[in-house]
Every structure is written in C-alpha cells, then in structure tokens.
Symmetry: C2
C-alpha cells in the first residue's frame, strides 16, 4: 500500500526560473519519505546534472526522456512527435501499474503547446490516475483546460533575470 493516501494534480508554469527545479525538489522530498517517483521528461534529452544526482538516491526513482533535446521553433519534426507519442504510451502502462506515488511530467505543457500530444491524450492519462498518485505538470505555457483540472497551480514569474545581461547557462546551476 502506498504511503501517500491521496494524490493531487500540480502545475508549475510561467516564464520564470524554477519549474523543473521545483519538480525535482519535490522528487527529492518524496524520496526522503520513501515514496516511489517516476519522472517523464518531454522535449528534453540529455543527462542533466539533477538526473545524475537523483540516480544516486536508489531504486525508488525512475527517469525517462521522450524528447529530442532540440528547441522547437515552428512545426515540430515527425521524429519529435513520435518520441512524445511513445512517451504517452509508456506512461499509460506506468499509470496502470499503480506503482508510483509521484509522477512528474516535465515539459508536458510545452509538448501540448507544440501539438506533440493532444489535450485528449492528457485527459486520458489524468482519468486513469490512481488515487494515491500525485501528478506534476511543468512547462512555460499551459492550456487553460490543464489549469482547470489542476488542484494546485503555481506561476513562476520572472521579475529580474541575469540572462538579459548575456550570461550563458552554467553547468550545475542552470543545467
């Protein structure tokens, strides 16, 4: 039986920093309590430093990526759609297994925005969420339907950002 009695749906959105970072912080907290965590990353690809560190935390966490790692400018490539669709398929099995307490869907808002997946795809997943599973959606732009179905929505707002002064993303801090 899960140690988490009831799971909700959280969304981290907005143009500010800290969306994925907060989701990974949440994963850390859940692991500290002995919960089981699955992180699905859409869009992204690559061994980020937070992934390296989380992997040291044992068997209770699984991370999978369903993206090409390329920034989508206009219409996404066929390959990118294929990766996201494959992610959805795997997620359905993962949800069905009822194994995980925390399911982080990193950048899924962006995958929806760029039509890599559809709103129906997401609703399908949400409908089958086991009671004890907390779901976390991240990504800059979020559909109003996702905000409506969520229990908790936090917007990360950029008030001031050093990027504007031309600083590159630093290893261990931004990536």
């Amino acid at each position: 039986m899960s140690k988490l009695k009831k799971g909700y749906i959280q969304v981290y959105m907005g143009d500010g920093k800290g969306k994925t970072t907060a989701a990974f912080g949440l994963a850390l907290r859940a692991l500290g309590y002995g919960l089981k965590v699955f992180i699905a990353q859409f869009i992204k690809e690559g061994e980020y430093n937070e992934i390296k560190a989380l992997k040291l935390l044992g068997e209770n966490i699984v991370i999978k990526q369903y993206g090409s790692g390329f920034f989508i400018r206009n219409k996404p490539k066929e390959e990118e759609v294929k990766l996201a669709k494959n992610g959805l398929k795997e997620l359905k099995d993962i949800i069905k297994s009822e194994k995980y307490d925390l399911l982080i869907l990193d950048e899924i808002n962006v995958a929806l925005y760029f039509k890599l997946i559809s709103l129906e795809d997401i609703l399908d997943i949400v409908c089958t969420k086991p009671d004890h599973t907390e779901m976390v959606f991240t990504g800059r732009k979020v559909a109003k339907e996702i905000v409506e179905l969520a229990d908790l929505v936090t917007e990360m707002r950029e008030i001031k950002h050093y990027y504007s002064s031309g600083i590159q993303a630093r290893n261990g801090i931004e990536k």
Copy 2:
C-alpha cells in the same frame, strides 16, 4: 579551484509553492555536477524529507538550521532572534572559508521581514561573497533592497491552491 567560475545572487519569493523546493532542486543539480553546497535554514527546524534525501548524496552537502520551527505571528521571541544571529555568525565563517559553490539561505527573506536579522547583516554577507559562490535567498516577502542587489528574481505566484479546500500538509509532498 571551484568548478563554478562565477556565482550570482538568486531570489525566490512570493506566496506560491515551490520556493524552498526549487532551492533544493538547485542543490541537487549542483551536487550532480560535483559542486559543494551549504544550506542554511532560518526560521525552520526539523528533519524535513528533502533533507533526509539530500543527506544520502554524500560529503558535498551540509545543511544547518537556525530556527525554532515555530511560526512567528507578531514579535519574534528572544530565542528566535538568538538562533538567527547565531546562524549569521556561522555563515560569516562559512563564506570566509570559500569552500562552497552554492549557498542557499532558506527563509532568510522571512527572517529579515520579522527583524530576526537586519538588512545590514545581509549586506555584510553579500559583500564578502566569493566570486565562485552562487547565493540563493528564499522566502515569501522580500525587501526591495534584496531585489535590487539580486541578479535573478523569480516570484512564485499562487494561481490555484488546494489548501483552500482544507487539505493538510502531506508527508513527502508538502513537507
């Protein structure tokens, strides 16, 4: 020599969720890259689940608490001021050691707001920050002077919150 060439000052503020969580996520990322991390928690006291998990990540992270764990309503108690002042004293030595790449000052904004510490205390610390140290300030209410001196400021805005429907903080998710 530090793997981080240049450190900045980040602030996570606002009434939304994810400030401390984002800071802990940042700690995770930094650890994944082999950076050295010090987390100083003001106000708080107690073995939070994220702390339990981070401690499994080895020698590169130190966490210390300089709070009583009680919510301050009006004027803080003498004991609370003493704990915060002691934290500041220790922090000065920590900064002087130049040992850490990432220095998280969790709830320091709140410690300032409730006058457990003064703005001068914080400016003293910031002035002696080694070039390679990234500093992170968290806490709901932030002084405008802190926003001015920071390089990156993100506001976590509460758009929707299930607390309003009377849910208690859950182990592994909220704490």
